[in-house]
């Protein structure tokens, strides 16, 4: 996408669907959404103590089991993966030329046009 440097559409040029997501660029709104998720999480966590759930497996019925599993499993997987990367990451051309990792995808199989250029005559 070499052409994209001078092609930076303003907010008004975007489709309404894209504008509906432009809040993701505002750090204050994102912060507020994060607080919202945190509040929802807290609510769900408290609810777990008030309401009896069906449980079959050991500890499954313990209040907070799923909340804790969600947080800890996520952290463990991501941190474990980071540690694993330290061990197994190799340069992109490690298997070259017998793999596609360091190859670029053939341009003939793509149609790389920039925003608002898709009304080109051949399209």
């Amino acid at each position: 996408m070499k052409k994209s440097a001078q092609n930076n559409p303003t907010n008004a040029q975007l489709t309404p669907l894209a504008r509906a997501f432009s809040w993701t660029e505002s750090s204050t709104v994102v912060q507020r959404v994060i607080y919202g998720v945190a509040a929802l999480s807290a609510l769900l966590f408290v609810l777990d103590f008030l309401i009896h759930r069906h449980a079959y497996a050991p500890y499954e019925g313990t209040p907070g089991f799923y909340a804790l599993t969600g947080f800890l499993a996520f952290s463990f997987i991501v941190l474990g993966a980071s540690a694993l990367r330290w061990l197994i990451a190799r340069p992109e051309n490690y298997y070259a030329p017998d793999s596609v990792d360091a190859e670029s995808y053939p341009e003939s199989g793509t149609e790389q046009i920039a925003f608002n250029q898709d009304k080109a005559p051949d399209a």
């Binding site: 994209s4 497996a57 050991p58 969600g70 997987i77 990451a89 298997y95 017998d98």
Partner: protein
């Protein structure tokens, strides 16, 4: 009768596509799946298209409650992939797509092991052209690796079925169980295509090497056909519970750090297969229903995710997370479809993953497989990490790559929106999917417990993501490849090969030396006998001659006694 079976319709269409002018090809790709679906519904439940060859009954069209849902979802996937590939003018890919879909349908509807073997190999031979069609040296090499492993799986299946026939005198494909060497070989053949741990690398190697549209096609068929064959032949085989748990877990770590998003999806596909394999291993009605339901919904949301990443690749030329970011501005439709796929795989309520995954997880805890149950719960969290958050975030949001590509072409958008709609539809109306499962379903996915526990998992996983991003512990996306078990045959074997060749050559030379030495020595011995002064050239007396003749005759007499 056989000519109207769904697999033959697809094969016929694939031959037709090769013969007609270019403008008719894409429409044929769209119409064929409807013809296939119509054939399945028209024939209905039962065993059709039975051919007797040399005393063997070849059953080409067995439609029952287990094969039916797979046949339906394969037709849907073939239609969606055909729509997504509307722009493709490459006849090789179009022929391969139809042939491959037909072969996969053939495998699912095969009623005996010989027919299964034929289609099993056919899927390998047809699908590899979706990789070759990229036409780069890397893709050619990858395609050959893929083909070798797929054909190896077929050879094992053939060996297994011959042994099984020798043991039992039957080639019927029913429940086999791990009872003999033959059934073990068939099990391993299925395991290769189902990407069991250490047999899985062909998947992550090949899928990112295929063409943009080819990967969407590949993701739907081979592995789900293997899940079907496992469910048919090995339901209730306990070892599958443990194999499936390992599959679901270990792939997570590789998916989290992988940079190529199509390979991330390949690992995540492998993890989802783990769920289905656990379901087969448990083998209760609830679990098998879960396996089929999850195969069905996972074909859809995996296709959707491969489509969205493919659309990004079509517009930007790359699927590397390190090169992407901030694309939501100009590709909002693709982004929303990607979010639907992401929420489906993370089992968000009202989406397809929620209503299929929970069947298997519940079956595990009800049957007392608590370890497997926990592995699957953790793998659900993992799906949130490596697919649901990572793919949309690093592609459409996150760090702005500065790329401003145009939205995906219309036909791709349409294919993605239809697939996304199906994911939502199944999630909102689970009864429609439950109605075609192998056993009658007495299951309510939307209970208070289910929804609240799933929301807890999701919310707290999201919080963990936010926390790890804040403190900078979340791995960033860098241009790297990661080693996996395929290192053994791609690097270690290649390095060891010269040494192995040298060792074999040395043994060979030594053996020849020894043989030549022995030969030379015996020649000298012989020439000693035959030389003018040797024993044979000597003049013998009558007594000696008679003694020798008598000895020889006695020897012959003695031999005749036995």
């Amino acid at each position: 009768m056989m000519a109207f079976s769904a697999p033959i319709i697809f094969l016929f269409a694939s031959v037709l596509v090769a013969c007609v002018p270019a403008r008719f090809r894409a429409p044929i790709l769209l119409i064929t799946p409807f013809a296939g679906l119509a054939s399945i519904l028209w024939f209905g439940m039962g065993t059709h298209a039975v051919v007797s060859v040399q005393g063997f009954e070849l059953i080409f069209y067995r439609i029952d409650t287990l094969s039916f849902p797979f046949g339906v979802v394969f037709c849907i996937a073939a239609f969606l992939a055909g729509l997504y590939a509307w722009h493709v003018r490459d006849v090789v890919q179009q022929v391969a797509t139809l042939g491959y879909a037909g072969a996969a349908l053939g495998g699912v509807f095969a009623g005996d092991l010989i027919t299964l073997f034929i289609w099993w190999e056919a899927t390998a031979i047809t699908s590899v052209f979706l990789i070759f069609a990229r036409r780069t040296p890397g893709a050619m090499a990858t395609g050959m690796r893929y083909l070798i492993i797929q054909v190896l799986s077929g050879v094992l299946l053939l060996a297994g079925l011959l042994l099984h026939f020798y043991d039992t005198g039957s080639t019927t494909f029913g429940n086999l169980g791990l009872v003999s060497l033959g059934t073990w070989l068939i099990f391993i053949a299925f395991g290769i295509k189902c990407a069991f741990p250490f047999l899985h690398n062909w998947l992550q190697d090949a899928y990112p090497a295929a063409t943009i549209t080819g990967t969407v096609v590949l993701s739907a068929f081979t592995t789900k056909m293997a899940v079907y064959t496992l469910a048919r032949g090995y339901a209730g085989t306990e070892v599958l519970v443990y194999i499936g748990s390992v599959m679901a877990i270990f792939t997570l770590f590789f998916a989290v750090i992988e940079n190529d998003l199509r390979r991330v999806l390949a690992y995540s596909l492998n993890s989802q297969l783990g769920f289905m394999v656990v379901g087969v291993g448990i083998g209760t009605e609830l679990a098998l229903n879960g396996t089929v339901a999850h195969a069905f919904s996972s074909v859809l949301y995996k296709s959707l995710l491969f489509m969205t990443v493919g659309a990004v690749m079509y517009r930007t030329g790359t699927s590397k997370a390190s090169e992407l970011g901030g694309l939501y501005r100009t590709m909002p439709v693709t982004m929303v479809c990607c979010l639907v796929g992401a929420m489906s795989i993370s089992a968000f309520p009202l989406l397809s993953g929620f209503i299929s995954k929970s069947l298997i997880i519940d079956a595990a805890s009800k049957k007392g497989y608590y370890l497997a149950w926990f592995a699957l719960v953790a793998a659900s969290v993992g799906a949130i990490a490596h697919t649901a958050i990572k793919i949309p975030f690093f592609t459409f949001f996150g760090h702005d790559s500065g790329k401003r590509p145009a939205e995906a072409p219309r036909h791709m958008q349409l294919a993605m929106v239809i697939t996304a709609f199906l994911c939502v539809f199944i999630g909102v109306f689970p009864g429609t999917l439950y109605a075609i499962l192998p056993y009658s379903v007495d299951y309510q996915p939307y209970t208070f417990s289910h929804v609240i526990t799933q929301m807890q998992l999701l919310c707290f996983a999201l919080l963990a993501f936010v926390y790890l991003m804040k403190v900078g512990l979340h791995p960033n996306q860098i241009r790297r490849v990661n080693l996996d078990a395929d290192w053994v045959y791609r690097k270690a074997a290649a390095v060891a090969l010269p040494a192995i060749v040298a060792a074999v050559a040395a043994v060979n030379r030594r053996a020849r030396d020894v043989a030549m030495d022995g030969l030379k020595r015996s020649m000298t011995r012989l020439s000693q006998f035959a030389s003018p002064s040797g024993l044979l050239a000597d003049i013998w007396g009558v007594n000696a001659m008679v003694s020798v003749v008598v000895a020889l005759m006695l020897a012959i007499l003695a031999l005749n006694l036995f």
